[in-house]
């Protein structure tokens, strides 16, 4: 039969070994016996839990970009810095490509990850098929790979240490928010994208 599919089978993404699918308990992790790659993991979080995580991430993301990352004091002159301001300052120095690179990986892609997860999970939570489903899932896979909120966080800590000789630096809420965002995004990423494909297929059926 043309187009026949086998939802009862799992193939390892990294070595192509085939296994029979079986449901995993919430504390189980399935690994390939040949190459040890992750095949799947049981989730403690259902759709509602994942949706809550994505909503929390959105709030933290907004706080992280509106509040100052740091406050600097140079002999009484104070400056406050948010992430969009740092990117704008880099743009103005003439290194536009670098500014765009930072904008994409620390701002646009993390935001896109959150927005796409909300877009997909909210309808599924109500038993509906998300509009633009196939496109949204492909886009999610792509932006997840290029989202670097946690790298940005470590970069901010190092920038603070390096500027300490030039000015008095104090940490702002924006930095704390990016810390929480890194944790939330990592938790979301652990739930994977392939699980979403299956969940959507089940919800649509």
């Amino acid at each position: 039969m043309e187009g026949e599919t086998y939802s009862g089978l799992v193939a390892c993404a990294e070595c192509d070994a085939v296994y029979a699918r079986r449901p995993l308990r919430s504390d189980e992790i399935a690994r390939c016996v040949r190459c040890n790659a992750l095949l799947g993991r049981g989730h403690r979080l259902g759709t509602d839990g994942q949706l809550a995580l994505a909503a929390a991430a959105l709030i933290v993301f907004v706080i992280g970009n509106l509040s100052p990352l740091v406050t600097l004091d140079l002999r009484g002159r104070e400056t406050v810095l948010t992430l969009p301001q740092a990117i704008a300052a880099t743009w103005q120095t003439g290194e536009q490509v670098v500014a765009l690179l930072a904008l994409a990986t620390a701002f646009v892609f993390p935001l896109a990850v959150i927005a796409l997860r909300l877009w997909l999970l909210a309808p599924i939570a109500f038993g509906r098929r998300p509009p633009g489903l196939v496109f949204a899932l492909h886009a999610l896979t792509w932006v997840t790979r290029w989202s670097m909120a946690e790298v940005f966080l470590l970069g901010a800590l190092i920038a603070i240490v390096r500027s300490a000789g030039l000015a008095d630096v104090s940490l702002g809420y924006g930095l704390a928010a990016y810390g929480v965002l890194s944790v939330l995004l990592t938790a979301e990423q652990l739930t994977g994208v392939h699980g979403l494909w299956r969940r959507v297929a089940e919800a649509a059926a």
Binding site: E14, A37, R77, A86, E95, H138
Partner: protein, 204 residues
């Protein structure tokens, strides 16, 4: 050791790279669930990986030789290379951070280029040498690769933070662009490589 599992391809099956659904290899050309083309192995995987590796290796030279950052203060104007920034961190007493930056900016890109070159060469030779270790090496390269973007963020933030006009200012320099390009090229090289080529079957 458990018996060697059979590969999807040798059973006439294909796993969709995008959504994971298993279909018949001689069925429809596209995945029924996500509609993208089905491939048992990524097309031209090794050629594309090798091409991105060459780009990364070439750009690694200006990334390390050119300054990535300039500072101007009442003490004078200076230009800083990647390695220079690491030395400054070390001398300021933050040896832990300087170690992190050294690993992320200098060690990871070069180790990543070398590791992917090794993986590409052994896969091209259809080698069965240390397959499990090679699979784990690829997974490591995939996981740690994007942390190299660290220095790009450090400079962008310093540019925004240290802007006190004539008193003190920081500017990005061309080496940073080359460095960002190295990181992107190595990430594209890693995602072009098809890890299934580490485990050749009867079909090659």
């Amino acid at each position: 050791m458990p018996p060697e599992p059979s590969s999807a391809r040798s059973r006439g099956l294909v796993r969709c790279t995008h959504c994971g659904l298993v279909s018949r290899i001689d069925g429809a050309p596209g995945c029924v669930r996500c509609r993208l083309p089905l491939h048992s192995r990524k097309p031209h995987s090794l050629q594309r990986t090798a091409a991105w590796l060459i780009v990364a290796a070439v750009l690694y030279i200006p990334a390390n030789l050119l300054p990535v950052m300039g500072t101007e203060s009442v003490l004078g104007a200076y230009e800083h290379t990647l390695l220079g920034g690491i030395v400054e961190l070390w001398e300021s007493g933050s040896w832990e951070l300087s170690l992190i930056v050294f690993v992320a900016s200098i060690a990871v890109p070069i180790v990543k280029i070398a590791a992917l070159a090794l993986l590409t060469a052994t896969a091209a030779a259809r080698s069965r040498w240390r397959q499990l270790e090679r699979a784990k090496l690829y997974r490591l390269v995939e996981t740690v690769g994007y942390w190299s973007m660290l220095d790009v963020f450090v400079v962008v933030l310093l540019v925004g933070m240290v802007s006190f006009g004539a008193l003190a200012s920081v500017s990005p320099e061309p080496g940073l662009l080359a460095f960002g390009a190295v990181v992107i090229a190595t990430m594209l090289a890693a995602s072009s490589f098809d890890a299934r080529l580490i485990w050749p079957d009867a079909h090659g």
